[in-house]
């Protein structure tokens, strides 16, 4: 669709689904219909009012769609009849079919999510119903790193279904530590193309996200999961990596070979430097993570500030060089 649809367009699009819905669900509740369509009850009443003035060409007596406005406004019950010619919804549009099929293919690639068979059958039926509208679905792909973590994901899924506690050996790459923890699983999430377990970590006494490809070992304990009532799922819309304003602010000078850092990690500021590199500032929660990053950069980046952190990195490099002396 070019540009935003007009208000009347949106209303007509909704009516072409609303009408078959209420025809096939006699005496549907206004509140439920409003929730299903994601609009207010008042909006559904306005929609019904449009239907009330619609009907067969000429609009003679008996041609109008019958809408019980009194029941809708008074009791919140929707009753519509005399519109059998619009008892089926409009076929799926290209964007609708594409968005749905690509989403389903993404689910199919996410291990531990749903029964592959059901997803494949659903895709086949949708493609059948959508016809040519779904033809382009192969041209949009969301790659999920699924195979390598399939076993871990299956274990997480089973623990979720059985509501049992998990034990994890979990690698924290920033510190290069493998930690042991008991976790009460809350959900299995896909974000940024990777799988995560979100759960209540008994060690941290807080919600934590665990990236499944960093789980070194996992087992289901013979203990019922008990997620405390104060546990809240993280809003993943803001992204997985959320720097805190309390974290230390670090300034790095990146050479041309280290520019990727600015693209890979959220930076507070990025500016060009005359040598073809960049000067960036970023929030650092754990100094060990940053020290490892600068070691990896191998001269492609160095710490400008704070000075003591710069000295720590130099000391790290010298200690590592001792083994090669």
């Amino acid at each position: 669709m070019s540009g935003r649809p007009s208000g009347a367009q949106q209303q007509v699009a909704r009516l072409l689904s609303l009408l078959p819905y209420v025809l096939s669900h006699p005496n549907a509740r206004l509140s439920e219909v409003a929730e299903l369509f994601g609009v207010s009850e008042r909006q559904i009443l306005r929609d019904l009012n449009v239907l009330w003035f619609s009907g067969l060409p000429g609009l003679a007596m008996g041609d109008y769609i019958e809408v019980d406005m009194e029941a809708a406004e008074g009791e919140g019950i929707i009753s519509v009849s005399n519109a059998d010619y619009l008892s089926r919804p409009l076929r799926l549009g290209t964007d609708e079919a594409l968005a749905l099929v690509v989403a389903l293919r993404t689910l199919a690639a996410m291990p531990g999510s749903y029964d592959r068979g059901a997803i494949d059958r659903a895709i086949a039926k949708l493609e059948q119903a959508a016809g040519s509208a779904a033809e382009r679905a192969a041209d949009v792909r969301v790659e999920v790193d699924g195979d390598a973590v399939a076993d871990v994901a299956a274990t997480v899924r089973r623990a979720l279904d059985e509501k049992r506690r998990l034990h994890l050996s979990y690698w924290v790459p920033g510190r290069d530590e493998t930690t042991e923890r008991d976790v009460d699983p809350m959900r299995l999430a896909l974000a940024d193309g990777r799988l995560y377990l979100e759960g209540w970590c008994r060690r941290a006494e807080a919600e934590r996200l665990f990236r499944l490809d960093r789980v070194a070992a996992i087992s289901i304990l013979d203990v019922a999961a008990s997620v405390p009532p104060q546990a809240r799922s993280r809003d993943l819309t803001a992204g997985i990596f959320q720097p805190s304003p309390d974290d230390e602010l670090v300034t790095l000078a990146l050479g041309p070979g280290g520019r990727w850092v600015a693209e890979y990690y959220p930076c507070e500021s990025v500016s060009e430097s005359p040598d073809g590199g960049l000067t960036v500032t970023l929030r650092v929660h754990d100094r060990r993570w940053l020290r490892r990053l600068v070691l990896r950069l191998g001269g492609g980046g160095r710490v400008l500030e704070p000075a003591d952190l710069a000295a720590e990195v130099v000391a790290d490099a010298r200690a590592a060089l001792d083994a090669y002396a």
Partner: protein, 328 residues
């Protein structure tokens, strides 16, 4: 008033609905003059105002995906052309979904974190609900599949791939690098580790190229007719996107790793020899000596490259550069 907020011109919605019904229930093409008579709202307009209004209404309905056809049954073409909507092209065909199939479709509607795509999936699910499909997802609440799209270039490229329309955009080879204009026939948009890319034929460089959406500066402009190129077979498209897949690890390095450290190396090691001194010796497969050296340098004093010599030298070079020592 229309288009803004909730204030919708009721008369216009009624007119559009009545126009749809009129064209859908008629047996043949309905002449424009007849439409003007029977669809409320047109009759009171001047000739000119009616023409404008009718053209716009048709356009808006077509944008919703309503297939309004123009034609005439008159073999001599003398008759005034008319309009119709064929039911089979209009209606969603029968679709019978098992409860588990319907449930996954309900979940799929939650995947996209992009306004236009989320709306498109919601509309699709509403159509299915209206056709009698019950998409109860309450049993699946513990699964949270999210696909985010933050790059503004995504939507115009989705449309370009969908319509097979060449595009033009300014592209930076890296963050902060100068942007150069690219003229591309997009084949496919894909997401890898949460980042979006477009693969297509670069008309300036005369070859397939992969572009990262976050490096597109400014707007993606249409630059050619829809349907003016063909997308090669899937294998070729995948090949062009192959740079995203991790390269094959054909070589192996010997690395000493302190016990309890280096899980990133241990998890892919093909062999581990436990040493008596608190250190283990791993065989680590790799594809590129430079990339492995970078990784090993990151472990600092917890990992020591033993062989091959090439990897060992590169690690030392990197560490010396960080330590501020000149390469020997």
């Amino acid at each position: 008033m229309e288009g803004k907020g909730h204030v919708v011109n009721q008369a216009k919605s009624e007119r559009l609905m009545n126009l749809v019904i009129c064209l859908l229930v008629s047996r043949g093409y309905v002449p424009k003059s007849r439409i003007r008579q029977v669809v409320g709202g047109y009759g009171e307009q001047s000739d000119e105002a009616f023409e404008r209004m009718f053209e716009r209404d048709k356009e808006e309905l077509r944008e919703l995906g309503i297939p309004i056809e123009t034609g005439s049954f008159d073999p001599f073409g003398d008759e005034e052309p008319g309009y119709r909507i064929q039911r089979q092209a209009f209606e969603l065909p029968e679709i019978n979904l098992e409860p588990d199939e319907a449930a996954v479709i309900g979940m799929a509607a939650r995947v996209w974190q992009h306004a236009s795509l989320a709306e498109a999936t919601s509309r699709a699910v509403l159509k299915l609900r209206a056709a009698g499909v019950e998409t109860d997802t309450s049993a699946l609440a513990a699964i949270e599949p999210r696909v985010a799209v933050e790059e503004p270039a995504f939507w115009p490229l989705w449309e370009a791939v969908r319509d097979r329309r060449p595009v033009r955009f300014a592209y930076r080879k890296g963050p902060g690098a100068p942007a150069t204009e690219r003229h591309v026939q997009p084949w496919s948009v894909l997401s890898w580790h949460g980042r979006w890319y477009v693969v297509g034929y670069d008309l300036n460089r005369e070859g397939p190229r992969l572009f990262r959406l976050s490096r597109i500066a400014g707007e993606v402009q249409p630059a050619g007719r829809a349907g003016s190129y063909q997308v090669p077979p899937p294998d070729e498209v995948r090949g062009a996107a192959g740079a995203l897949a991790p390269p094959r690890q054909t070589a192996s390095a010997r690395v000493r790793v302190r016990r309890g450290a280096g899980y990133g190396l241990r998890r892919r090691a093909t062999g581990t020899r436990v040493g008596p001194d608190g250190w283990d010796e791993l065989s680590v497969p790799y594809a590129d000596a430079g990339v492995l050296a970078e990784e090993l340098a990151g472990y600092g004093a917890d990992a020591v490259a033993l062989e091959p010599d090439d990897v060992r030298k590169r690690v030392v070079e990197r560490l010396r550069a960080v330590a501020g020592e000149d390469a020997a």
